[in-house]
């Protein structure tokens, strides 16, 4: 691993979600050398956990498949998973980046045959499913995982099961001695694409995410629709496994709120509109299932408006202009009761629902202040385009609250900024050679 070939004409991309992947591939398809780092064992980031995209309601796995094929076919991108940046030294055109790589305990011999998982019984939290279930400690993160290689959880190491897994592998793919590694990478420019994380819902005390089982976040709800997700693709509420047929969506859960996130997270209105269509998908057009969307403003710009109108036309989706004041639980049946006031004409409500979904706000996974000792970002921690940031460029949701399409645009633009830097380096070196 230590022999990563890189120079100051290399572009380093940090994060292999949709933005990092896009930036890496777009730059590489311009002929540039790219090193792509991913913290997780598989690429795809947050979008690989989405069930459908708005507004087309298509599957994120489809676009990821194309990107993975581009990646496999392109020798100019070097992907390193389970890797995180620990330090950046140098300046634009000449960075040395220190990278820490966690051990996977499975090497490149792995054929994804799954024999190791068969002999391991120990289970760990399933982070891919937001800890809504468990997964075996020898596992492939998900169906479409790339690299298509298993990994062993560190907690398994030293146990007899780890030895059993090693013994059952016919391909010598399990290496229990694998250690943490440190790597130094040269790069001319850095694209920072570490994406976003959901705001900590427990901090919104009045909504009881930490107290009521049937209050969940939008990202968790998304996982429930996946046939291979924690509920096998069914909208079953956590408290009793009952089908959720009367679902509340609370908008601005954390966003547009100076007590939490001051910015508008942009995607949540469309996300809830999208999720409201899951009810028809799950229960059929003519079912009694219904969705209630509690909102301040429905923020769906440009042709997303078409989608909004389509959902508005659905009698089973109700819109209530209200920031929900509080959520309480009906302890007799686990229902959630939403209290508040519909401010369009002042109507007080106490509405019962099977399940409450918080349209959770978006915050940068790594705030700008934590990158290279602090680079220029806004007060929410999103990276700004700034000359003082040298050749460190934010891409996707590391730079703003963006939907997938805009994140890909941002990543494509970031790829050009990086190329401008490395082309300058190349021109300067050519000039020097010329002399």
């Amino acid at each position: 691993m230590a022999d990563v070939i890189a120079s100051n004409e290399t572009i380093l991309v940090v994060g292999a979600g949709i933005s990092g992947l896009t930036a890496a591939l777009e730059a590489a398809e311009c002929g540039k050398q790219v090193i792509l780092l991913e913290k997780n064992p598989a690429i795809g980031g947050r979008v690989s956990q989405l069930y459908r995209y708005f507004p087309k309601l298509c599957k994120p796995a489809c676009g990821l498949e194309i990107n993975v094929r581009r990646l496999k076919a392109n020798p100019r991108v070097r992907l390193i998973t389970m890797a995180e940046v620990t330090a950046i030294d140098g300046q634009a055109g000449d960075y040395t980046v220190s990278v820490h790589i966690r051990p996977r305990f499975v090497n490149e011999n792995c054929t994804a045959c799954g024999a190791c998982a068969e002999v391991v019984n120990q289970e760990i939290e399933d982070t891919f499913n937001y800890n809504m279930g468990t997964v075996k400690a020898a596992y492939l993160p998900h169906n479409a995982a790339y690299p298509q290689r298993y990994l062993l959880d560190p907690s398994l190491i030293g146990s007899p099961e780890a030895q059993a897994a090693k013994a059952v592998c016919k391909y010598d793919a399990i290496d229990l001695e694998m250690q943490d590694e440190q790597l130094q990478i040269k790069a001319g420019a850095i694209i920072w694409a570490t994406g976003w994380k959901p705001y900590d819902a427990a901090k919104i005390q009045a909504y009881g995410y930490d107290r009521f089982e049937n209050v969940i976040t939008s990202v968790e709800f998304e996982r429930m629709m996946d046939k291979y997700g924690p509920t096998g693709g069914r909208l079953l509420r956590p408290s009793d496994g009952k089908e959720a047929r009367n679902i509340a969506f609370i908008q601005c859960a954390g966003s547009r709120d100076q007590n939490h996130l001051p910015h508008c997270s942009r995607i949540c209105c469309m996300a809830s509109l999208k999720q409201s269509t899951y009810l028809s998908e799950q229960y059929g057009q003519d079912s009694d299932a219904r969705a209630s969307i509690y909102y301040i403003d429905i923020r769906v710009i440009d042709r997303f408006e078409d989608f909004y109108r389509k959902v508005q036309a659905d009698e089973k989706v109700h819109f209530i202009k209200s920031k929900v004041a509080s959520v309480v639980e009906d302890s007799s049946n686990g229902d959630v009761i939403l209290h508040g006031v519909n401010t369009e004409g002042y109507h007080r409500y106490a509405n019962h629902h099977d399940l409450c979904v918080l349209a959770i706000g978006m915050q940068p996974s790594v705030p700008a202040s934590k990158i290279n000792g602090g680079i220029r970002g806004d007060s929410s921690g999103f990276i700004e385009l700034d000359i003082n940031n040298g050749a460190i460029f934010g891409a996707g949701c590391a730079s703003n609250a963006l939907d997938v399409n805009r994140a890909a645009q941002s990543a494509t633009a970031a790829a050009l900024y990086a190329i401008q830097t490395v082309n300058r380096v190349a021109r300067a070196e050519q000039t020097m050679i010329g002399e």
Partner: protein, 738 residues
């Protein structure tokens, strides 16, 4: 040319040798597959296994390789041999993992595996190593059409990466709408105040950049060619024309403001004191930093101004815009600040239904409130002009009342309309005449029309969420408000992204490589001229308008515009179009080499042609989950269902297949086909195949086509098994053995 020499390599790992008789497969490869070298290996993807293949290539002159192991999607990097043609027989995901491990299944499972080995051997013998398109242009200049914010940004960012830029602007000055603005929406923290547009600086930088050549008062009179070799006639108003060459084109032709005179209910045109946002910018510029904004009717200082949001937007009414232009809420805030910053005692009211200030716009909204701008959730019903000013009638949606405000000035937030040129698909697909007032932006000499196809509401946007720069005219990238209503900050990011794609297009064109989504593909279509009947189906059906006609009315492929989907190949009734490594024969021979059992054996054969991006991976994932499906199927991945030539269907039926399934992506308005129309045209062609079935006196069920998604991991095996039941019910194909 060297003699073809086939090597077949059978992997025994991952349970293959436990489930299958590998010696028999080796026998099939050598006797039927005509493999010169056949080897088995316990762990073929290991370094030693791959080395074994490489040494045969070097030592034995093997130049056709069959890997009988796992799916082509697994271990792709290990088996990437770029000097030989390679085919994969999918024994793992395609056979042993989808068949239950049971004694009763042994025979059928082995038959399945043997067929896949036959098919791989047959395919690889038909494949040629693609050498890359040689009809490449080498021009790396970037042509930018439009000199507004988007065009200026695209030009500067391309130049900063070292590329020469030609910038064509139809008016006499650079700057576009931005230069008509007094101030712009803030793009940096604290997002509190209107900021300088910065357009003067951009113009200055463009004018002084030695890498950028500017053509004012000019337009593209004729655009022809392909990436790397576009030729553009640039004409001036005076009629002078000269021809330039470019490798890629960025279309930043911007927007036209909505004609507010279509809004009589909002009083536009009935009083000089009822204006749109663009006109307020003029008033604000006239007032400058010192003076106050005055109302047009009597030049008195405006003391009360009302902003009416969504004027003629987000509306179903005829003549209104159905979409939201996205920028107008922030723009109204900015304009209200023009008044408040000058004189805090001016009353400024913004009437909105949803205040749409996404992202950091929330800070700008807060700043506006702090400055005392009043926001009221209200639906405006009418604006009635007075002698001076006007009265705005509206429903206050919070207080649930019908009410009104008196204002000295009323500002209507009208929307953006894309300058996307002529709607080429409307011209070709509908009988009613297209908008005659539309003027072409690019004047492409392409057979499929003079402009880039429009997506929706007249915008030239990408249909793909993951791929915002997907374009249906390779090497031409739209950016800015021509593709989606947007503000300046978004336009600048968009223009930068488009500049990258243009650069990428020229770099790939020079090397003869395909653009997205088959990026890097070196194969390209060629055709046998002597067989061509000039039916023009290829030129009509190409989703990317890549094919023109030459002076003798033969198709002209413009390889650099081609995206390698094979829709032309599927369209061709005389089968003269092929790619080196993907042709009517590479698939046709696979179909022919499946062993069709005798009718009495009661072993049906079902051919599945599966889209390689969605259906095929879904089948792979079904295998990873050890779901099972019928042993009767033989799956062939295709680049796109659009590439499926009906000859494959009729040949298969004639040679005794009992059923054929086509698995492709969603078609229609929300299509998910990566090649835009491939799935659509496949459905069209299959609907016509029922005539053929009738002629052959075959049941219509013998050909089935389905839209599937990549996540249909459980649905696909069920679909296949149901189909196998249907086939068993209708019985064997009577053409077996003929």
């Amino acid at each position: 040319m060297t003699e073809p020499k086939l090597g077949a390599y059978i992997c025994k790992g991952c349970g293959i040798s436990e489930r299958l008789n590998c010696d028999q497969l080796a026998q099939v490869a050598s006797s039927e597959g005509k493999a010169a070298v056949v080897r088995q290996h316990p762990f073929l993807c290991s370094a030693a296994g791959v080395e074994m293949i490489r040494s045969d290539m070097a030592g034995q002159g093997i130049n056709q390789v069959v890997i009988a192991a796992c799916s082509r999607r697994a271990k792709t990097e290990a088996f990437a041999f770029d000097t030989v043609t390679t085919s994969r027989a999918n024994l793992r995901e395609g056979v042993i993992w989808i068949r239950p491990d049971h004694e009763d299944n042994q025979e059928t499972t082995q038959e399945m595996a043997a067929d896949y080995v036959r098919m791989a051997c047959a395919e690889v013998q038909q494949m040629r190593q693609p050498g890359g398109n040689t009809e490449t242009g080498v021009n790396k200049q970037i042509l930018v059409v439009g000199g507004g914010i988007s065009g200026l940004t695209a030009a500067l960012e391309s130049a900063a990466a070292g590329y020469h830029v030609l910038l064509v602007e139809k008016s006499a000055a650079l700057g576009g709408w931005a230069s008509k603005l007094y101030r712009s929406i803030p793009t940096r923290e604290p997002y509190a105040d209107p900021q300088d547009t910065g357009v003067e600086l951009l113009i200055h930088r463009v004018q002084t950049d030695p890498q950028i050549t500017v053509y004012l008062n000019s337009y593209c009179n004729r655009t022809s060619g392909a990436p790397g070799q576009f030729s553009i006639d640039i004409s001036t108003e005076s009629g002078a024309t000269h021809t330039v060459n470019a490798g890629a084109i960025i279309q930043a032709s911007g927007f036209t403001r909505y004609d507010a005179s279509q809004l009589p209910e909002l009083g536009y045109g009935q009083s000089p004191d009822i204006i749109d946002q663009a006109e307020l910018e003029r008033l604000a510029s006239a007032a400058g930093t010192e003076g106050s904004i005055v109302r047009p009717s009597d030049q008195a200082e405006v003391k009360a101004v009302v902003f009416v949001q969504c004027a003629g937007q987000r509306s179903n009414q005829p003549g209104h815009l159905p979409y939201c232009s996205g920028f107008c809420c922030n723009a109204a805030i900015k304009q209200a600040m023009y008044f408040k910053d000058n004189n805090p005692s001016v009353d400024t009211v913004i009437l909105y239904t949803d205040l749409r200030t996404p992202g950091n716009g929330e800070d700008f909204y807060r700043s506006a409130q702090r400055k005392g701008i009043t926001f009221s959730k209200g639906k405006v019903t009418s604006v009635v002009p007075g002698k001076q000013g006007a009265e705005v009638f509206f429903d206050d949606l919070i207080l649930d009342t019908q009410t009104s405000i008196q204002a000295d000035l009323v500002v209507l937030a009208t929307g953006q309309i894309a300058n996307a040129g002529i709607d080429v698909e409307h011209v070709t697909s509908a009988e009613e005449p297209t908008d005659k007032t539309a003027i072409s932006v690019l004047n492409l000499s392409y057979r499929q029309g003079p402009d880039v196809p429009q997506l929706k509401h007249g915008f030239a946007d990408s249909h793909f969420i993951c791929f915002p720069y997907e374009t249906r005219r390779t090497g031409i990238y739209a950016c800015g408000p021509v593709r989606r209503p947007m503000d300046m900050a978004q336009a600048r990011i968009d223009a930068t992204g488009a500049a990258l794609k243009a650069i990428q297009a020229v770099e790939n064109a020079v090397l003869g490589r395909a653009a997205h989504p088959r990026s890097g593909d070196l194969s390209f279509p060629s055709f046998r001229k002597e067989g061509c009947t000039q039916c023009k189906r290829c030129t009509v059906e190409c989703p990317f308008g890549a094919i023109d006609e030459d002076e003798n009315r033969y198709p002209l492929f413009n390889e650099s515009r081609c995206r390698r989907c094979g829709t032309c190949m599927g369209a061709c009734p005389v089968r003269v179009i092929s790619f080196q490594n993907y042709s009517v024969d590479t698939v046709g021979q696979q179909i022919k080499h499946v062993e069709i059992p005798d009718e009495m054996d009661e072993k049906p054969r079902i051919l599945i042609l599966a889209c390689e991006n969605d259906a095929y991976p879904a089948l792979d994932m079904a295998a990873h989950n050890r779901l099972s499906y019928s042993a009767w199927v033989r799956v062939i991945p295709v680049r796109c269902l659009g590439s499926v030539n009906t000859i494959w269907i009729t040949d298969a039926l004639n040679s005794g297949y009992d059923g054929i399934m086509l698995l492709g992506c969603k078609k229609g308005d929300n299509y998910q086909c990566h090649f835009v129309k491939g799935s659509e045209v496949a459905h069209d062609r299959m609907s016509k195949i029922s005539d053929t079935l009738e002629q052959l006196q075959l049941e219509k069920e013998r050909v089935a086509i389905h839209e599937v998604e990549i996540t249909d991991i459980q649905r696909l095996p069920a679909l296949i098994n149901d189909y196998a039941d249907v086939i068993e019910k209708i019985g064997m194909n009577p053409f077996k053995g003929f």
